[in-house]
């Protein structure tokens, strides 16, 4: 009977992120010269989904109380790879898509293997592997470029509008949530990933599959990074090994995850929250555009908003009774 109270408590972070996003988006749209039109929504969606995919990738790892500083680089590597492989006939395109996704999965799995079996801190491991992945991307695309027979029909279909004006990229995002996130969240492995993030000792003592949970979380993180990389290719028709882009996406993904109510201490939050966090974070930048402010203000403005959002999360520290718990 009072189940709803608990359901609400469980989703509070996600709902808060949704609220932040909606408020910002409403302000954005109502001040946009063109108003609430299919084109405005499509542009916003296409900008938003890239970060949404990378933020989802980050969520898997952060839930296990780790952090993945290589997500942006997997994203870039897969972008470069896709610019060569997503070409030609439907069958060669399908093969190319598969190869790109598999590459992302392998990159993530390597992170996972090193973290789990090397017993190393995720932060250093992923700095190192991230550099490797970026190095590979640079070898693939020393200069930005594209392939002549790039399958731009597929790209246009996935970044355009569906009948009724619904942005196709949003639908793609929805499908990815449905076939990757939902099963993960409801599987034994997914629950073990949450448990590892919450208390690894307790999870081990309860006989949960702690190692495979971490491995799967890292591998899925790589896969989501690859999906993000594919979409980047669909938007640009080309591949570019941009260090700045990789780093930006990595750092923004962490910001989006926190905005979306996922705890950096692990064990708490959802990828859906992270998606709204990513969309909200993107909208912050767009707000400057509709208010006609100098784009130079964007980093500063984004930083202030992010800082405020994070401070909300640390309010609980005022309740700590044993000061040693502050360091735990």
């Amino acid at each position: 009977m009072n189940d709803w109270r608990y359901r609400f408590a469980e989703q509070r972070g996600t709902l808060l992120a949704l609220l932040i996003f909606l408020v910002m988006f409403v302000i954005y749209v109502s001040n946009h010269p063109a108003g609430f039109t299919a084109n405005v929504v499509q542009t916003a969606a296409n900008k938003g989904v890239l970060l949404a995919f990378v933020a989802m990738a980050q969520t898997f790892v952060v839930l296990t109380a780790g952090i993945d500083l290589s997500v942006g680089m997997v994203f870039i590597l897969c972008n470069c790879l896709a610019s060569y492989l997503v070409v030609g006939s439907p069958s060669t395109t399908a093969l190319g898509l598969f190869a790109v996704l598999a590459t992302g999965l392998v990159c993530g799995a390597i992170n996972g293997l090193v973290v789990v079996f090397g017993r190393l801190q995720p932060i250093v491991v992923t700095i190192a592997t991230g550099a490797i992945y970026f190095g590979l991307a640079l070898l693939l695309r020393p200069n930005p470029g594209s392939t002549a027979n790039f399958n731009s029909d597929l790209a246009d279909a996935l970044t355009g509008k569906l009948p009724g004006g619904i942005p196709a990229s949003l639908v793609a995002l929805f499908v990815v949530v449905l076939i990757i996130w939902v099963p993960f969240r409801r599987s034994v492995i997914g629950r073990a990933a949450y448990a590892v993030g919450s208390s690894e000792t307790a999870a081990y003592m309860s006989g949960m599959p702690t190692r495979s949970a971490k491995l799967v979380a890292y591998a899925l993180s790589g896969l989501l990074g690859a999906i993000g990389g594919l979409f980047l290719t669909f938007f640009t028709y080309s591949g570019e090994a941009s260090l700045a882009n990789g780093n930006t996406y990595t750092l923004f993904s962490i910001a989006a995850v926190v905005l979306g109510g996922v705890s950096l201490f692990g064990g708490k939050g959802s990828a859906i929250g992270a998606i709204f966090g990513a969309l909200a974070f993107r909208t912050i930048g767009d707000l400057l555009f509709v208010f006609d402010l100098d784009p130079l203000w964007q980093p500063l403005f984004q930083g202030v908003v992010l800082l405020l959002a994070i401070c909300l999360g640390s309010a609980r520290l005022f309740q700590v009774k044993n000061r040693l718990d502050l360091f735990a």
């Binding site: 099963p183 307790a202 949960m208």
Partner: protein
């Protein structure tokens, strides 16, 4: 009894942790449909025994038989699969998951490869009902529930795994009397269903109420097994102590009466539910011990005095003057002159990768520097002096603290605080995991510090230390002072008796004990 194959038997089990023997040639036999209680002092090997049975650690030697078949457990999951389920003293619940998630944690019901939440809910509700926790909502997060409710969930979680041998390690220590009687009803029903129950508790009256058989452990060995009720509490306590004094303690010197106010005077100190109206005094030259079972508020008391705990109420008088100690920084200031030798030297006492010199000077840097710059020569002299005084064995003062032996590391922590010449020294179990020789040196040092005018408050989990070192011992139980022992009253028997919250008769061994309600 020989013609029945016991449900579980372990023989010749030994386990060492580094140089410390936790178990040596221990054995235990558990029968189905009986409650078997394990008794023993802190560190008698009970926890290690349970960890071996439930697959958390592997024994160095010995074998385990389940219904006559030899078994080995690589991990807790393997033990669970064999039907041995343990409810650990440190809770094994996952704080951010819901009650229902936790109950089915090791084997959730699945449908098409995904967790079937409806079935999970049903299992959880059933298990909660069996464990006497019908009032707990299955969707509540574990971290939002109080300790006593969590303990009920632990039991429900264990029951959901369909155990044949259920181990309860101090599983009732956080429960109220009403909850305990509920749990006991559950245990009796489980016993009637044919489960074997292994029950570890420090509460003698609980053991008297529920146990069928008892085994006493001492120094890593099982020393006696008997039918419950066939020995008096005094006999049991004697079997639990049973050892000679193995350490040499420096002689105590009685303090002359003095009209000076005590250096440390604590009045009605309380903090959340863990400390209740604790009052104590310590005079210059006095060693005051804190006794009692592990986790009865001793650590919290020391932390509260040192200004670590927020929202502690009560009054602290230093030299008779009311003083507010808001943080360790204030506590160590020259006016108060307090030092706390923490329990865990590796995390709270030392920065292991940093040099011996740096570690020794941290607390005293204020005295060794001028205008914010450290006077290297003064530092060097002070550090050398300390190393000589405490006979710390180290390869010079620039090697990392982590390269020293455990005993020398502990000396380093003590030396670090002696650098500020404290007047009040709080020690939290300072000899844990240290070799006997270094222990003796630390005992002599503590007495010397007291003789030179320091007031010492010492918490120790080893009763013979309290007996050998302290002028006065305050025994805590559940956050409150249960008894104060002075001078010749301080005996192991009195300490254990008051720690277990039973009254033992000090003069007449074997006399009928009085059990407190």
């Amino acid at each position: 009894m020989d013609d029945v194959v016991p449900l579980f038997r372990m023989e010749g089990i030994s386990k060492r942790y580094g140089g410390v023997k936790a178990l040596e040639n221990a054995s235990l036999t558990v029968q189905a449909a009986r409650v078997h209680a394990i008794l023993g002092e802190n560190g008698a090997g009970k926890s290690t025994l349970i960890k071996i049975m439930s697959g958390v650690v592997a024994p160095d030697a010995g074998r385990m038989l389940l219904e006559g078949q030899s078994v080995q457990f690589a991990n807790p999951a393997a033990a669970n699969a064999a039907g041995i389920v343990c409810i650990f003293q440190e809770l094994s619940l996952i704080p951010d998951l819901t009650v229902a998630d936790n109950i089915v944690v090791s084997n959730p019901p699945t449908r098409f490869g995904m967790i079937d939440r409806r079935a999970q809910r049903r299992i959880a509700e059933e298990a909660l009902a069996r464990a006497g926790g019908e009032d707990i909502h299955p969707m509540a997060l574990v971290k939002d529930l109080p300790l006593s409710r969590r303990q009920i969930i632990e039991i429900a979680k264990a029951l959901a795994r369909k155990p044949r041998l259920l181990i309860l390690d101090e599983a009732t220590s956080a429960l109220t009397a009403a909850d305990v009687s509920k749990v006991f009803d559950v245990l009796r029903r489980l016993r009637a269903e044919g489960l074997a129950l292994l029950f570890i508790s420090h509460r003698m009256h609980e053991i008297a109420e529920i146990a069928d058989d008892c085994t006493i452990f001492r120094n890593g060995r099982n020393v006696a097994t008997y039918r419950a009720g066939s020995k008096t509490d005094n006999e049991v306590v004697e079997l639990m102590i049973g050892r000679e004094y193995s350490h040499v303690f420096p002689p105590k010197k009685p303090l002359p009466p003095s009209d000076q106010p005590p250096v440390l005077d604590v009045r009605n100190l309380s903090w959340t539910q863990r400390l209740k109206d604790v009052s104590l005094t310590a005079r210059a030259g006095e060693v005051v011990g804190l006794g009692g079972l592990d986790g009865q508020g001793q650590r919290e008391l020391l932390l509260a005095l040192f200004g670590v705990l927020r929202g502690a109420s009560g009054e602290v008088l230093i030299d008779g003057k009311p003083t507010r100690i808001g943080s360790p920084r204030v506590a160590k200031s020259r006016k108060i002159g307090m030092a706390l030798i923490p329990e865990d030297r590796k995390t709270e006492g030392l920065m292991l990768p940093m040099s011996v010199r740096d570690n020794l000077s941290f607390a005293a840097l204020g005295n060794l520097s001028h205008a914010g710059v450290v006077d290297q020569r003064a530092e060097r002299a002070a550090v050398d002096e300390m190393i000589r005084l405490l006979a710390i064995r180290t390869d010079g003062i620039d090697v990392p603290a982590g390269s020293l032996s455990g005993g020398n590391q502990q000396k380093l922590v003590i030396a670090k605080w002696l650098m500020v010449s404290p007047r009040i020294i709080l020690l939290n179990d300072p000899t844990r995991g240290i070799d006997v020789g270094t222990k003796e040196e630390i005992y002599a040092l503590l007495r010397k510090l007291a003789d030179s005018g320091a007031a010492i408050v010492l918490y120790s989990t080893e009763y013979d230390e309290l007996v050998g070192l302290c002028d006065r011992v305050i025994v805590l139980y559940d956050g409150a002072i249960k008894r104060t022992l002075v001078g010749s009253e301080i005996t192991e028997r009195a300490l254990i008796g008051s720690a277990l919250n039973i009254a033992t008769d000090d003069r007449e061994p074997g006399a009928k004990p009085v059990v407190e309600a």
